[in-house]
């Protein structure tokens, strides 16, 4: 007899084991084939390995036969082989064997019990592989075939198997339906009946129908007693007691726990039930507010057990243990059990969710069939009604008919809606946790945005006024120094607010990388120029190594600037002597070219064990250093996130006391090189020109910039001639007012400016020039003197002309250098 193991069938929370089709004991075997088959069946539940070798021997025997029953016998052996392989979890091996058996039987004897058995075996494999829908179809087919073959017992087992699939999906209404049907269909086998009653009890308990559940367990218990199985009775008692605990009937639960303990200790086989009984006992103790006793039980049950490897059967016990330890203040243990509970609960939920999802389409099909049948019946009833009316005996038919139609349609509708709702519930539970997390992040983002707004408003006052003061020419040097300090501190504060917002944007995925064509070398030069003064003041050499860097690339210039700025700021901050080098180059990578940006310093260095820390927000190497080196402590965290957002990463090499190198590698996308090296040789066209504007009036400077910026490669601006210096400009446009108050003073200033910005051409833009001044300024070195106001198109035309004239004399030398 092949009753499924009681423990598995009676499990509380675990997915029910799929029963092997048991059958009444066969008569004494006659042939070697019959002996092998009997041996295989005998060994199937307890020792599938033996069952497998017996089935192979049976197959061998069957193949040697010649009679009419040969193919059926081969199929029988294949069924047993498939069942054994299924139990050994060798699913891939089981499937072809079963399929072969099915092929022979489906044509030879389609209505035989063997056909049903093979379908059940196939369904078992499919269900184990999570292919719920075809498994369900096979169980249903097997059920129909067993019906034709008059095998009520096998029919009941098919129904219980279907019930167990719905148990996986936690569809307890369906579980009830199928197990109840199985119990009604074949009440003659106590082992089947006790399993059905017990599972019905569990399903009722899940639906909080406690009184009905308790009645079912009582029935199951009576059957177990008749079977004289202490193990099964102990299981049923434990389930009954667990229901009573939930029901609040603690005294009854105590009685049944005691009884279950007695039964579980009655014989060796029954001891298998002990952990389950302890679990319920612990739950009862907890319900009685005795966590100490509950914990003691948990301790006993889980002694020597790896909590990370427990099974679904232990899920509820873990929860009880967690609550008990928590109440006792033993947090480490509470946590260990909570983790185990969560792991198993997730497992159960995943199983339910996937089974449900798979069932959904199947249920839709059934529901649709049901509604089609309902509609057919409705039209049939309509005909009946018409017939009856014709006969003049309308009376009750109409009423009864409409009620029946209504019920049928309602049933179909509810069934569709329920399957939809259940899938939604399963997914809903999973997404609820995510939603909560999202909400918390959202709340923090909003908080940061508000805080940022509230800090920026007064900061606007501070930084605005320091700028106004610093722009005032009357400010004396000593005071300027102090205001500069004030301004610098305000800027640091602004950087902090910006950095915090950036981190928040990165976390919420709102950081947008907007790639566009840009000039990489120019960006590097600008960055170096920005830090040159600071490096110089500290006596640190600043080197720019961009000979191997590409010029025009497609990247987010603003974000790249942020990375360079942060790395340079860091390097200069932590270096007191020696050098800081910014080197940029391209290198081949596994997925195409990469851009390598490295900032190397000879600074204080970072100990190896802190290399990862520096990329964490608000971490500098140690607390004392944080005080010595001002900064937000967010720069490197942002650099790393930006580098990753650009398809790369940042790396650190450092030796304590010797220095550090931060290297950013990101995906490199080159732009079509339309404009040759802006950082190198002199520009050849106006579009490549680098301009410097000198204008003391910020508005006219801004308007001038707005007019010329779109036409040239780069525009810098200063407000006084004294600030204009460097050999990296092609054209310098100077406002007359910045040159001086008289024509002579202006001419002198032009001559000095010409030297300071050589080889750039100087264009003077002047309002109210003195008579003859234009010639005087040209003589002093101005390439052009343009009277203003002047319409923008005319100004641009004049500038282009001036640029072309300037270019002419150098054209030859540049051509020569290219030839050389």
């Amino acid at each position: 007899m092949f009753a499924a193991s009681a423990a598995a069938v009676l499990a509380t929370a675990a997915p029910a084991a799929r029963a092997f089709a048991p059958e009444p004991a066969a008569l004494a075997p006659a042939t070697p084939f019959d002996q092998r088959v009997a041996a295989a069946k005998q060994a199937m539940m307890a020792d599938p390995q033996t069952a497998l070798s017996e089935s192979l021997a049976a197959l061998d025997a069957a193949r040697r036969e010649t009679g009419a029953a040969r193919s059926e016998r081969i199929a029988t052996a294949q069924w047993l082989q498939g069942e054994a392989l299924l139990r050994l979890n060798r699913l891939d091996a089981a499937r072809p064997v079963i399929r072969e058996g099915l092929k022979a039987v489906a044509s030879g004897s389609p209505d035989s019990k063997l056909h049903g058995d093979l379908l059940m075996a196939q369904a078992g494999v499919l269900a184990t592989q999570g292919q719920v829908q075809p498994a369900l179809a096979d169980f249903h087919a097997a059920y129909r075939i067993f019906g034709k073959a008059g095998e009520a017992r096998s029919q009941a087992i098919a129904l219980m198997n279907i019930g167990s699939i719905y148990q996986d999906a936690r569809d307890y209404a369906k579980v009830l339906q199928y197990y109840a049907q199985a119990a009604d269909l074949y009440p003659g086998d106590p082992s089947l009946l006790v399993s059905a009653r017990n599972n019905i009890g569990n399903a009722l308990r899940e639906q909080k129908r406690f009184a009905e559940a308790e009645a079912e367990f009582e029935r199951a218990r009576a059957i177990a007693r008749e079977m004289k199985s202490a193990l099964i009775e102990a299981h049923v008692m434990a389930n009954l007691a667990a229901t009573e605990v939930e029901h609040g009937k603690l005294d009854a639960a105590q009685r049944h726990v005691n009884e279950a303990l007695r039964l579980a200790n009655a014989d060796a086989a029954a001891r298998e039930a002990l952990p389950g009984v302890w679990a319920v006992a612990a739950r009862l103790e907890l319900a009685r507010n005795r966590p100490q006793a509950a914990a003691a039980l948990a301790e006993r049950a889980f002694a020597g057990v790896d909590l990370e490897k427990t099974s679904l059967l232990d899920r509820d016990f873990h929860e009880t243990a967690y609550r008990a330890y928590l109440a006792l203040g033993d947090e480490p243990r509470a946590l260990a059990h909570l983790r185990a509970f969560k792991r198993l609960d997730d497992e159960a939920r995943d199983l339910a969710a996937s089974t449900n999802a798979a069932l959904m389409s199947a249920q839709f099909d059934y529901a649709n069939q049901a509604s089609r049948i309902a509609r057919l019946k409705a039209s049939q009833l309509q005909k009946d009604v018409e017939l009856a009316r014709a006969r003049g005996v309308i009376t009750n038919v109409l009423l009864a008919g409409s009620v029946v139609v209504g019920v049928l349609l309602l049933g179909a509708f509810l069934s569709i809606r329920r399957s939809r709702n259940e899938v939604r519930d399963a997914n809903g539970k999973l997404s609820k946790a995510n939603a909560a997390l999202e909400k918390a992040v959202q709340a923090r983002t909003e908080f940061l945005a508000t805080t940022s707004h509230e800090i920026r408003t007064p900061l606007n006052g501070i930084l605005g006024m320091t700028q106004v003061i610093l722009a005032d020419p009357r400010l004396d040097a000593e005071l300027k120094d102090k205001v500069n300090l004030l301004h610098g501190s305000g800027e640091t504060m602004r950087a902090l607010v910006d950095d915090i917002l950036d981190l928040s944007k990165i976390e919420t995925g709102k950081m947008v990388i907007a790639a566009a064509e840009m000039d990489l070398r120019k960006l590097c030069e600008e960055t170096a120029r920005l830090w040159a003064e600071k490096a110089d003041a500290k006596g640190v050499a600043l080197t720019l190594d961009i000979d191997a860097a590409p010029t025009r690339i497609v990247a987010d210039a603003g974000r790249l600037r942020q990375i360079l700025f942060n790395l340079m700021s860091n390097a200069i901050k932590f270096t007191h002597e020696g050098a800081v080098t910014l080197s940029v180059r391209a290198e081949p990578g596994p997925d195409g070219e990469r851009l390598v940006v490295a900032v190397t310093d000879t600074g204080i260095g970072i100990p190896k064990e802190r290399h990862e820390d520096v990329f964490e927000p608000f971490r500098q190497v140690d607390g004392s250093i944080t005080r010595n080196y001002e900064g937000t402590g967010l720069g490197l965290a942002i650099c790393r996130n930006l580098a990753r957002a650009m398809g790369g990463d940042i790396a650190l090499e450092s030796t304590l006391g010797k220095g550090s190198t931060f290297t950013v590698r990101i995906a490199l996308q080159r732009a079509a090189e339309t404009r040759p090296g802006v950082g190198g040789a002199a520009a050849e066209s106006f579009a490549e020109a680098r301009l410097l504007l000198i204008d003391a009036n910020p508005l006219s400077q801004a308007v001038l910039r707005a007019v010329v910026q779109p036409q040239v490669a780069s525009v810098e601006a200063v407000s006084a001639c004294a600030d204009a210096a460097g050999d990296h400009f092609d054209l310098v446009i100077c406002d007359g007012a910045a040159l001086g108050d008289t024509a002579d003073a202006r001419a002198g200033a032009v001559a000095r400016l010409r030297r300071a910005v050589a080889p750039a051409a100087v264009v003077v833009l002047i309002a109210g020039a003195e008579p003859g001044e234009s010639a005087q300024l040209t003589a002093a070195g101005a390439a052009q003197v343009i009277a203003k106001p002047i319409p923008a198109p005319m100004l641009l035309a004049a500038l282009r002309a001036g640029f072309a004239e300037r270019k002419a004399p150098v054209a030859d030398s540049s051509a020569q250098s290219r030839l050389a």
Partner: protein
């Protein structure tokens, strides 16, 4: 050159006034959107600087109302000056009809560049201001 600043915070009004003075620009002030719109109706300005969060009518509403005017003043250049750093602020402002957005704290260069840009852009760059 006449600029109208619509801003509720008096310290920040003073800051912008001082900054603009350095560029020789005269500035009129309004403490909320409603007053700002009234002033635009009553006199002529070249540029409007607009805060967003203000008691009474907020900046975004004021920009929409201004753009909904049926006359030439509807196309008056508007630069938003806000302490709101949200990532959707700039696209929202531009969608409402702003010509530019400046984030507080405002730099002097940023302020003049923004004004220079809208002036050069709106007037087709016909005159360079002396």
């Amino acid at each position: 050159m006449r600029v109208l600043l619509v801003e509720d915070n008096d310290v920040n009004r003073r800051v912008v006034r001082e900054m603009l003075r350095a560029g020789g620009i005269e500035m009129a002030e309004a403490a909320d959107g409603e007053i700002g719109l009234q002033m635009i109706a009553d006199s002529d300005y070249d540029v409007v600087l607009m805060d967003l969060r203000m008691p009474g009518m907020d900046g975004m509403t004021a920009i929409r109302r201004l753009r909904a005017r049926g006359d030439a003043k509807a196309s008056l250049p508007v630069i938003v000056v806000t302490a709101d750093a949200g990532s959707s602020i700039e696209p929202d402002c531009l969608a409402a009809g702003a010509d530019g957005v400046l984030l507080k704290p405002v730099s002097m260069n940023g302020l003049f560049d923004a004004i220079g840009k809208v002036v050069a852009g709106r007037k087709g760059g016909d005159i360079l201001v002396a």
